[in-house]
Symmetry: C2
Subunit: 297 residues, 2 copies
């Protein structure tokens, strides 16, 4: 299958973006650096996995690219509601788990998919999973996304924000995994504005996240903050393994397991029926894991 110019442009974009983001995150690390593993997929393509672990600021940070192509499996074709045939898919996917419970976990993903029958889509999104109630951070995060999206497609932030609230919900618990962000999928690949949007979202990652890291990374925290962080990271695992399309797509399309599961937090606790103390910061934080208008709220 001949991969399209759009595919090649997206591939070049995510290569540059990976460098840019890794450099930006390493600025918070005096010693640790991203380590790269290059992997090949038997049926076509492969990836550049970059992981930083055991850092001063970040316990586990993964900024991964993959670019794969080949025959669709029946399962994949059915998930995508297309005829079986050849496909190409490339994307960047990152999940950052900081050490401090005062610094949120973040996820960001941009991706492009095309078939040999000329169908193509962009998708992507980003969402913030904080463990401490700092509404100022959440509002600024959403404002940065709003500027990035709406500068390319007016009112798109508002639409993708709502989709995100629905998507990043742990349905069996009727709660979100964090404070949302944006999520979009199946944006037709032949529309140039969609490529622009995806670039704007990718480039908004550092401006949206780095100021929060800078502001919170040296704040003190206590044992309850850490337990709450580990419990909420358990909810992150619940979401990723039960609902996350990216994870399930990866497992179904023969992706590299260790690269897919870089998203899982380094340390997790599952407590039976844990409840926050009344009036605590944790109780407050729980109330924020619901859809909320962070811009105007």
């Amino acid at each position: 299958m001949e991969l399209s110019p759009t595919f090649r442009e997206m591939e070049a974009f995510i290569r540059r973006l990976q460098d840019q983001i890794c450099n930006g995150l390493e600025a918070f690390e005096p010693i640790q650096r991203f380590q790269q593993d290059i992997w090949e997929r038997e049926q076509g393509g492969g990836g550049w996995t970059r992981i930083l672990t055991g850092g001063k600021t970040f316990g586990k940070a993964g900024v991964n690219i993959s670019s794969i192509h080949g025959e669709m499996t029946k399962e994949l074709a059915s998930q995508l509601e297309v005829e079986e045939g050849l496909f190409g898919a490339c994307g960047l996917s990152l999940v950052i788990h900081p050490n401090s419970p005062k610094v949120p976990t973040i996820h960001m993903n941009v991706r492009y998919f095309e078939t040999n029958e000329g169908r193509s889509w962009f998708g992507g999104g980003t969402d913030l999973t904080p463990y401490y109630p700092y509404p100022k951070d959440f509002k600024e995060f959403h404002q940065t996304l709003q500027r990035a999206c709406n500068s390319v497609i007016p009112s798109s932030y508002e639409q993708y924000k709502e989709t995100c609230d629905q998507y990043f919900t742990i349905r069996h618990r009727a709660e979100m995994r964090g404070v949302g962000g944006i999520f979009f999928d199946y944006l037709t690949g032949t529309e140039p504005k969609h490529a622009d949007l995806v670039r704007a979202v990718g480039e908004s990652f550092l401006p949206a996240y780095a100021p929060i890291v800078e502001r919170r990374k040296d704040e003190s925290f206590d044992a309850v903050d850490t337990i709450f962080q580990k419990i909420r990271r358990g909810r992150y695992v619940e979401f990723n393994l039960i609902y996350d399309r990216g994870t399930l797509f990866g497992l179904r399309s023969g992706g590299r397991i260790e690269s897919i599961f870089m998203s899982l937090p380094p340390e997790v606790e599952f407590h039976y029926n844990w409840q926050p103390e009344s009036g605590s910061a944790q109780e407050k934080m729980l109330s924020y894991y619901q859809p909320y208008d962070w811009i105007n709220g």
Copy 2:
């Protein structure tokens, strides 16, 4: 819906079994005791959840009963390949996570399901998830199950052992979550031998597990043993959230989330691309997470 005499007998059996097992496990605990939460299901039935946490021997042990009935959801009927209608389901499900990496995690489950159209099935199984290579323990565990099963139905152990090897496999990693045991499902409920088998399996739990706990609970262990335990518990989470029918049935049938997720280990670590040292006990243990004939091997 009138629940059948078989249902009522099964319900009485699992109530007794829950007491017996909780007493047997508490014998390893100088102070901690099982705490009971009784819950009701809005659409009919409920459960008796018993959890022991923070023990000397057991970090998190759950021995749960549920007995539910009502209208099947479309999703449930489709999963079971039956017409929508009324159903009753009861069972005991336990997962025990000890503190020491020398003592295996164990799971056991017996269950009964019936519809208002007169269809009914027994199911169940047990499997052992060790973190240290003690083949003697694994062999004795399988021998006890063989005696329990084959005393009721000749050669049933051999059949259910093979089903277990297939079922408790983390497919995306092509490895089992432990060293297997037995697994059976859709045994027709109108066959008295099947009720006998389920009782024999339930009653074999303490004889199969308690001697291993007794033998290993006071052995010393080191930091690598503990990290390996936490990493393998991560694999346990992968299995339970992606593949386990019991977990998915619970989530789909409106079960109580905290009771379903008592199976998740108390502390878990997800490391990127972790590999055991060459020649280590952990490397040996990894080789045991594959189907193996523990009786004759």
